[in-house]
């Protein structure tokens, strides 16, 4: 029986029905990893010891007749910015190359409690800063659809591992698009929850007011299932929201989008958006109409400021969050320093890559005395305006529709020396991040080079169920699922 191309839902069913053991499940995936990983380079480390321990435990429980939940027996890959107790959490950085997490993140703890199995940690742009995963200090992850292109980023490893069937699901993190953009590039589903829906405890911070953990999957149901497990208030994260989590899974239905009003954001359908991407979105609009939704054009006038606002706030927070990597307590300490200041500078000089350094400098500048009001404070004010634009628009429509990215996956190395053009890759994903809104990227077509295109849906705060409903309905009529199933791991197998 081939397991690796099965969905999380199917794997769970086979496991619950005792048609396959947890050990057999992970054996299959590790075999696939062994086969494909040399080409994809999606993973930073395998967590075999944990995986086999969890599998053994699950097999014991199932043999005792214990009733296990809908994610039990499902393997998952975790982005290397999330702490799994006893395993390394490198953040794609030399500075944390040898760091072993001494505690468990809340989100992963919930997964293990629910019976998911930890296969591996995945590659990423250093400290989640980037849009191509090329900023990893360790390896360059390839897009499974074309090994000469990037998987997107920063959660490129998590996206590529799902697309190449190294795992059915994975966790990424999204600060300005780091789940949705690679999902779009790799032809998988990627969801960024409402800020505060999922605990950030154990997620190594890039920009605290923006970071959210989100799932990758090859279909909407599996993404919903994963989100269901990791969501909820956590007393260890006071920015997590103390609101009940609805049942995302059982309500999924093809008809739920009927009568819904969807707004197509004018500002994100114009200049800079690739013609083929635009066309795929236009086709998708027709599909939504066929499903019974009303699609109208809407305008969010302040959305054009999102990118500069984001690059001030995110870098400001990052400059502070990354101050702790100084060689004193854990991680890298550069040799040869005789005084504390040289120890700091040498450690940080050799430990951080160029993009991280660039952002630390940008953020430090934005917070400096004399510049704070002009940059950080102003950015926060404009962030409120962007958020208000969304609030105003959601008085008129239920959901917002845009392309996830202006283009499909670009070639490796194409933008490494041009940070601005790299930053523009997130132009459509950043606005929802600034407003803290839930947003999902779903495959909606292919370009002429047969590279996947993603469409992005954004919902009001804490309305993940609306997002998932619409994405599920869309997925079912888009007729891509068969193509995706066949084409997943194209260029690899």
């Amino acid at each position: 029986m081939t397991i690796i191309n099965k969905s999380a839902k199917e794997i769970n069913k086979l496991f619950i029905n005792k048609e396959i053991s947890a050990k057999e499940i992970i054996d299959s995936f590790y075999k696939q990893i062994e086969l494909i990983e040399p080409k994809i380079q999606a993973l930073t480390s395998l967590t075999k010891e944990l995986a086999y321990r969890q599998a053994e435990e699950l097999d014991k429980r199932i043999s005792k007749g214990e009733k296990l939940g809908p994610i039990a027996g499902v393997p998952i890959v975790i982005k290397d910015v999330i702490c799994v107790k006893g395993f390394s959490a490198t953040c794609g950085s030399k500075i944390l190359e040898n760091f072993i997490a001494p505690y468990e993140a809340t989100a992963t703890g919930k997964l293990w409690d629910a019976g998911a199995i930890c296969l591996a940690k995945s590659n990423m742009d250093e400290f989640a800063m980037g849009s191509s995963t090329e900023n990893s200090a360790f390896k360059k992850t390839k897009n499974p659809w074309n090994l000469n292109t990037v998987p997107g980023g920063s959660s490129g490893g998590s996206a590529a591992s799902v697309a190449s069937m190294e795992t059915p699901i994975s966790l990424g993190t999204d600060t300005g698009g780091s789940v949705r953009q690679p999902a779009s590039f790799c032809g998988v589903v990627g969801l960024k929850p409402t800020y505060g829906r999922v605990s950030r405890f154990g997620l190594i911070a890039f920009a605290s007011s923006l970071d959210q953990i989100g799932p990758f999957a090859r279909n909407v149901y599996d993404a919903a299932l994963t989100l269901q497990v990791i969501s909820g208030y956590d007393p260890k994260d006071t920015t997590s929201l103390n609101v009940e989590v609805p049942d995302y899974i059982s309500r999924l239905n093809v008809n739920t989008v009927k009568g819904k009003k969807i707004g197509l954001i004018k500002e994100l359908m114009g200049e800079g958006i690739d013609a083929e991407v635009k066309k795929a979105i236009e086709v998708s609009v027709r599909l939504f109409k066929d499903l019974g939704a009303e699609v109208v054009e809407v305008s969010l006038p302040n959305i054009k400021y999102s990118l500069p606002v984001y690059y001030i706030i995110a870098t400001a927070e990052a400059s502070s969050n990354l101050a702790r990597y100084d060689g004193v307590k854990y991680g890298l300490r550069a040799d040869g320093a005789k005084e504390v200041l040289p120890m700091y500078t040498k450690t940080r000089q050799s430990g951080f890559g160029p993009e991280v350094k660039r952002r630390i400098m940008l953020g430090t500048y934005a917070l400096s005395s004399g510049y704070y009001d002009a940059y950080y404070k102003k950015a926060q004010q404009v962030r409120k305006l962007v958020t208000q634009d969304f609030l105003n628009t959601f008085e008129k429509v239920d959901l917002l529709l845009t392309p996830t990215c202006p283009t499909t996956a670009f070639e490796l190395g194409a933008k490494v020396d041009d940070p601005l053009s790299m930053y523009l890759s997130d132009i459509a994903t950043i606005p929802a991040s600034l407003a803290g809104l839930p947003s999902v990227s779903v495959p909606c077509g292919f370009d002429s080079k047969n590279m996947p295109i993603g469409l992005q849906l954004t919902a009001p705060s804490l309305s993940e169920e609306l997002l998932l409903d619409a994405a599920y309905a869309f997925e079912s009529v888009c007729n891509l699922s068969e193509k995706l199933k066949d084409k997943h791991a194209v260029g690899v197998v």
């Binding site: 505690y103 405890f201 997620l203 260890k236 006071t238 920015t239 502070s320 100084d326 307590k329 005084e339």
Partner: protein, 484 residues
């Protein structure tokens, strides 16, 4: 020119920044115990060590203590406030930023009256303490062979109480700091131990010609570890500034370190070297909303404060201000005193006993009233026995008090056991008085001639004969009767 300059009289201007470690059970942002003297790096966890990926969770008790202090210092408690990150690199600061409060402190605009003068309190804010560095081969990080870090103190809750520059002398600064400490202790929010650093004073000092309305350039003095140092540091800094100005120089704004041994302040860092702290709102903590109800609940828990007692004691108990001060210093002693009075004892006598022999005993045994066995009831009883004439003052002090304080045995029982009851039987004492008078004819003659000073001699002799148990009043009456 020189002659004119040297005639200038200067006024000292002082503002104090007092850091008080709060006596909470756990740290401000994690559940590690606040416990001093533990093995290095044992009271730590990923959160207070600033490990990657951890988040702070605010300890509610810290907020309650900050509010309590603010109310006691007549501050306005804010309804909305937030935390900010104060950023600088130092090895004792694990995150390389300190979670503090910048532009929205929890309390503002208070005051404290010190000897009838109002010292304004600008603000009180909450923050986390840093760890401690131990240097080898030097007393500073710079130049040491190596330095070790102990993060036990990291995350201990602090409040910083900032006064306006309203203080005008070193003595006044000391009075302010002492009263502040006493209030913090009454509130039971801080130990107030300067030597151990649970209360730390940074002193901002400047001088200006008397009559000037603008402030001079100030220097901030750190490392002031006692009230004595507070005075020494301030006075020596004032002298230093005077010398500079009088020799035509200018004061440079800087942070200075007080050196205990030399009694002088030395430069630590100038304004140019000062950190740009790059404050910004802490994104890991949600803004704080403080309800009026919570503030009211906290208000209810504030006891009568030392400054209030100091006004009331002379009025209610007829004590002079020095007596009041001694009793009020320690809240437990003051409460003990008030309990004794509530049990009907004479206020003045109770005060004398507590300030005199009881305090002497506590000093000798290095203890305090809480750790003595005597209850307020027992002291009230003892004073009652004296009042009634069942025992005399002297016997009470020499024979009863020690046992009462040390073991808590009731006076009644001690009196019974030791047979200390005062002899009030007039006929029994008459014989003794007669004998003493007769066997000392010279002295008797003096007494009869009206030399009252000699009376004490006779009383003493009778006491000796009766083992100290004679009632002095009766003995005196008998002497009068017999020499008529």
């Amino acid at each position: 020119m020189t002659a004119i300059k040297s005639k200038t009289e200067y006024e000292t201007v002082i503002g104090l920044e007092v850091h008080a470690q709060l006596k909470t059970k756990t740290k401000i942002f994690c559940s590690c115990p606040v416990d001093f003297g533990a093995e290095p790096n044992t009271n730590v966890c990923p959160v207070c060590l600033g490990m990657p990926g951890v988040l702070p969770v605010l300890n509610r008790q810290v907020v309650a203590y900050a509010i309590k202090t603010g109310l006691a210092l007549n501050c306005t408690v804010t309804k909305h406030c937030k935390f900010d990150r104060k950023q600088y690199f130092y090895p004792d600061l694990p995150k390389n930023y300190q979670i503090s409060q910048y532009d929205q402190p929890i309390c503002e605009n208070g005051y404290l009256e010190v000897s009838g003068k109002r010292i304004e309190i600008q603000r009180i804010h909450m923050e986390e303490d840093a760890g401690k560095l131990v240097h080898a081969g030097s007393d500073r990080l710079h130049g040491s062979d190596y330095s070790l870090v102990d993060y036990n103190r990291t995350g201990t809750p602090l409040i910083e109480i900032v006064s306006m520059p309203d203080i005008r002398s070193a003595e006044e600064a000391k009075e302010y700091a002492q009263l502040l400490r006493s209030i913090l202790r009454y509130l039971d929010v801080c130990d107030g131990n300067l030597e151990e650093g649970s209360m730390r004073c940074d002193v901002n000092v400047s001088i200006r010609p008397i009559g000037s309305t603008t402030f001079g350039t100030r220097c901030e003095i750190k490392n002031v570890n006692s009230f004595k140092s507070l005075i020494r540091a301030t006075e020596s800094e004032v002298e230093r500034q005077k010398e500079i100005i009088e020799s035509g120089g200018r004061i440079i704004q800087e942070t200075r370190l007080f050196e205990e041994n030399s009694g002088k302040t030395v430069s630590m860092r100038s304004k140019e070297e000062a950190h740009d702290y790059r404050y910004f709102p802490e994104p890991d903590l949600v803004p704080l909303e403080i309800s009026a109800q919570w503030i009211n609940e906290i208000k209810e828990t504030i006891p009568e404060l030392p400054n209030q007692k100091k006004l009331r004691y002379p009025k209610d108990y007829g004590l002079n201000s020095e007596e009041a001060k001694v009793l009020i210093e320690d809240r437990n002693l003051a409460e003990f005193y008030e309990a004794v009075i509530r049990l009907g004892a004479n206020a003045k006598k109770a005060a004398n006993w507590l300030i005199g022999p009881v305090t002497a005993y506590m000093k000798e045994h290095k203890t305090d009233i809480l750790n003595c066995c005597m209850t307020p009831k027992q002291l009230a009883d003892l004073l009652g026995f004296i009042e009634k004439g069942a025992i005399n003052d002297n016997i009470a002090k020499t024979e009863i008090l020690e046992e009462l304080l040390g073991q808590g045995t009731d006076s009644e029982e001690i009196i019974k056991q030791k047979g200390l009851a005062q002899i009030t039987d007039t006929s029994a004492l008459k014989e003794a008085v007669k004998e003493v008078l007769e066997s000392n004819p010279t002295q008797l003659k003096d007494l009869k001639e009206g030399k009252e000073k000699i009376r004490g001699f006779f009383v003493g002799q009778v006491m000796k004969k009766t083992g100290g148990k004679a009632s002095p009043q009766i003995v005196n009456a008998l002497i009068d009767e017999l020499i008529k």
